[in-house]
């Protein structure tokens, strides 16, 4: 599978009924309990310490220390090549699928080492779903797109309800409820992207990662996805990579700015420059590099 073209978590292949492989289970009640708590005081979903990535020995990202808190939207921004997409793939082990990719440092997910050999990467990608830049529904019906993951995972009870709930959660139900058996490829780009989000939601994830989910969409569809992101945070943790700084300003609770350092050898490597509340990043960032980037004077 090409990890850059999929629009949801990698196809789950664990046997039906397989218990979580080394990862604690969170109930919906656990996820929604933190709504009114200040972001920094909410549960830490990801605690990244010294995270870096090399591709075929060449370092693309280094020394990222970043905490991502529950029930919030965290945006990753920065110029091209700064490693933000590389980093987001560390959060559900998508880099495992790229030949020559090596992740160092530590990524704790709810306090557990995400890269522990005992942890099943398929289970990881079920818990931590992903939506990519280009919506890419399966060439199946709308219904079967949503039902695919639950069927493979053995979550077959009340499948119709599960499909309906996922589509409602993705704000797509009203638009497709009368044509669930029609092909998903007949949907508009924005509808396809929401379908892909619904497909990720159908397997009951804890986290939704979005890698530039609106870059191929028109403003109306973008607005629908942004509204959806905000509504999802009552149950889910959302991490989004975006080139659109106004989008980060609109939807994110926290914003992390990545940039590129150039070493003495001329090699370029992505680094995390600053992370803070979004309003702070866009009104009074602490770091001059962040200021230069968000004001358009750099990058």
């Amino acid at each position: 599978m090409d990890p850059t073209s999929d629009s949801t978590a990698a196809p789950p292949v664990t046997a039906p009924g397989t218990p979580s492989a080394g990862l604690a289970t969170l109930s919906v009640e656990d996820r929604t309990a933190s709504g009114s708590v200040p972001i920094e005081e909410r549960e830490v979903v990801f605690d990244c310490q010294g995270v870096g990535v090399r591709y075929n020995g060449k370092r693309a990202l280094r020394d990222v220390d970043l905490r991502i808190h529950a029930n919030a939207v965290t945006a990753l921004i920065g110029p091209s090549g700064c490693g933000k997409s590389t980093f987001i793939r560390c959060l559900n082990r998508m880099n495992d699928l790229i030949p020559g990719a090596a992740v160092d440092g530590a990524v704790a997910y709810h306090g557990e080492d995400l890269y522990d050999p005992q942890v099943d990467p398929i289970e990881v990608r079920k818990r931590i779903g992903m939506v990519f830049q280009k919506p890419n529904p399966f060439p199946k019906s709308i219904y079967d797109n949503i039902a695919f993951g639950p069927r493979v995972l053995g979550m077959k009870d009340q499948l119709d309800d599960r499909v309906e709930q996922a589509l409602k959660r993705a704000a797509l139900w009203d638009e497709v409820k009368d044509r669930l058996k029609e092909g998903a490829l007949g949907l508009s780009g924005g509808q396809q992207q929401r379908l892909c989000i619904a497909r990720a939601l159908a397997v009951e994830p804890d986290v939704i990662l979005m890698d530039e989910p609106c870059s191929a969409l028109d403003p109306i569809s973008t607005s629908a996805i942004e509204d959806l992101m905000l509504s999802l945070t009552d149950e889910y943790t959302v991490v989004i990579v975006t080139h659109n700084m106004q989008q980060a300003a609109r939807v994110a609770d926290m914003t992390a700015f990545f940039s590129v350092d150039q070493g003495e050898t001329g090699a370029r490597c992505g680094v995390l420059v600053e992370v803070d509340r979004t309003e702070r990043i866009f009104t009074n960032p602490a770091n001059e590099r962040t200021e230069a980037y968000v004001t358009g004077r750099f990058g």
Partner: protein
């Protein structure tokens, strides 16, 4: 590097500097009209106020355009917001100057010791108010985050002069209708000149916020 945007910010900053010059001129002329009964100064005050009203409308429209088209953030956003607020403060300062000019009237013919005290205080307030406005826009021009403290100290002096006027007026024979009318006008003139100082302090505080992003804003209202 968004050169067009930078040119827009520079133009907004230039507008503020020019408005500051006009507002300070309005206050100086209004003070001259008040204590020297100068018709020329009265006309100059109203002309300056009208000029500043036009500039105020133009600057606000320019800010609206910049916000809509450039979506400024961080220090650029703070600069645009500072311009928006300073624009308002300077327009209000000039409006208060016009109010002062309209209060100009000779004192009663009777020689009054109090008259000298009151007019001297009003002159001091007007001169200091104009100086404060010049200082505040100079701080904007130099992006000086510390001028708010100097302006607050100068404002204390303005307030004291205003209190002196009020105390002096309370001590005179208020049963004299002619004197009462003059004293009332001077009391209001002191009030409007005191507000000029407040507006200059507001400008200084906006400059501090613009530069640091941290300073609390305590608008001097009333």
């Amino acid at each position: 590097m968004r050169e067009g945007f930078q040119e827009e910010l520079d133009a907004l900053s230039a507008s503020v500097l020019e408005e500051g010059r006009v507002a300070a001129h309005a206050v100086s002329e209004a003070t001259r009209a008040l204590v020297d009964w100068s018709v020329d100064a009265f006309d100059a005050t109203l002309a300056a106020e009208a000029d500043l009203k036009r500039r105020y409308v133009d600057t606000e429209a320019h800010v609206e355009t910049v916000l809509a088209r450039q979506a400024p953030v961080a220090s650029d956003l703070r600069t645009v917001l500072a311009v928006l607020h300073i624009n308002r403060s300077l327009e209000r300062a000039a409006h208060n100057a016009a109010r002062v000019a309209h209060l100009a009237t000779p004192p009663p013919r009777r020689a009054l010791v109090e008259e000298a005290v009151i007019t001297d205080a009003l002159r001091a307030m007007g001169e200091r108010g104009a100086e404060m406005l010049r200082t505040s826009v100079d701080a904007f021009d130099r992006r000086d985050p510390g001028a708010d403290r100097l302006l607050a100290a100068l404002d204390e002096l303005v307030d004291r002069e205003n209190e002196k006027i009020a105390e002096t007026i309370l001590s005179i024979d208020i049963n004299d209708p002619e004197l009462r009318q003059w004293a009332s006008r001077m009391l209001f003139a002191g009030r409007w000149l005191e507000r000029v100082g407040d507006h200059a302090v507001n400008v200084g505080e906006r400059v501090t916020y613009m530069v640091t992003g941290e300073a609390p804003i305590v608008e001097h209202t009333g």
